[in-house]
């Protein structure tokens, strides 16, 4: 493994920064990562969401996590967005490009991308 010194530097930089806890104010972005999700292409969707949350500056209010089979396998990759006080939004047939738009318009902008939701998707 290459030098662990670089890791130590990351620790120094991050120490003292309060890590986002899944508290009352955080938006939870949950990606289905069971066999169905993985086969349908969830891995790049997750990786894009993680990168975009940082790039678009919303990492202090949103967390990205993985879950098992949601039960709508034919709609995978599925991304659910939970925000306290609001109805859950279920995005289906997700791709890395769609994920970028969801972070920009929904997570950052507050407006769900309705055309990507389960109610608006025919398969």
């Amino acid at each position: 493994m290459k030098s662990l010194e670089e890791l130590a530097k990351i620790r120094e930089r991050m120490a003292g920064k309060v890590a986002l806890r899944e508290g009352e104010n955080s938006v939870r972005i949950v990606v289905g990562m069971a066999t169905c999700g993985i086969a349908a292409g969830a891995r790049p969707v997750l990786n894009t969401l993680v990168d975009e949350v940082v790039k678009q500056g919303v990492s202090d209010k949103a967390t990205v996590s993985q879950t098992g089979c949601i039960g709508i396998c034919q709609y995978e990759p599925v991304v659910e967005v939970f925000e306290p006080g609001k109805e859950k939004v279920t995005y289906v047939k997700m791709t890395p490009d769609k994920a970028k738009r969801v972070v920009a318009e929904h997570i950052k902008g507050g407006n769900p991308v309705v055309e990507y939701t389960i109610g608006n998707t025919k398969i």
Binding site: L7, R43, Q66, C73
Partner: protein, 187 residues
């Protein structure tokens, strides 16, 4: 699945669901073969369950009546002329030494060999969702070198900074990429 690295992602999820504290992912590669072994110390399976998991119509989930992860892995190995072995000891049968070892042998020379694909992305995805209570040890022995990663080692340096911190994930992926570059060069 299009890449074996996706099957690996899928199989390791089983170990996490089983509550494993330690998961070892070992890839042993020669010019002609690839062996993928995932070993965990999770709750394990009783002999009946262990026999059933290669059946696509066996699953523990309530949402559907199929469980395809292990059957897909078995298919991928056997279509190259390879094999799948699974050994498991349930926590009920042995409260101290329990867990599962699943090992698949692939013949790279077969036209039906699925490429390994982006294993770095798989490891990044696993580590992103790992949480505090599980550690992974990854090793890939290649003809001219070895690539390895230990989350326990990384945690020791990071202290309270979580593994899922984006900068840490970038470090891990870059480190793996440079290890692979070194191991692939025939020096």
């Amino acid at each position: 699945m299009k890449e074996l690295s996706l099957n690996i992602l899928d199989i390791v999820q089983n170990s996490l669901t089983a509550g494993a504290a330690n998961v070892e992912i070992a890839l042993e590669e020669t010019a002609e073969t690839l062996r993928i072994t995932v070993a965990d110390d999770g709750c394990g399976m009783t002999p009946d369950v262990a026999r059933s998991v290669t059946d696509p119509f066996y699953t523990t989930r309530k949402t559907r009546g199929v469980g395809l992860g292990i059957p897909f892995f078995k298919l991928a190995a056997e279509q190259t002329g390879g094999t799948l072995d699974l050994k498991s000891t349930s926590e009920k049968d042995d409260p101290v030494n329990h867990g599962t070892v699943i090992s698949a042998l692939f013949y790279k020379t077969s036209i039906d060999f699925t490429p390994l694909g982006d294993i770095i992305s798989t490891l990044g995805t696993l580590i992103q969702g790992l949480g505090e209570s599980t550690d992974i040890v990854f090793t890939h022995t290649l003809p001219h070198g070895e690539v390895s990663l230990s989350t326990a080692e990384i945690r020791a340096v990071l202290g309270e900074v979580p593994l899922s911190t984006p900068e840490v994930l970038v470090f891990i992926k870059d480190d793996l990429a440079s290890q692979y570059a070194e191991a692939s060069s025939c020096t």
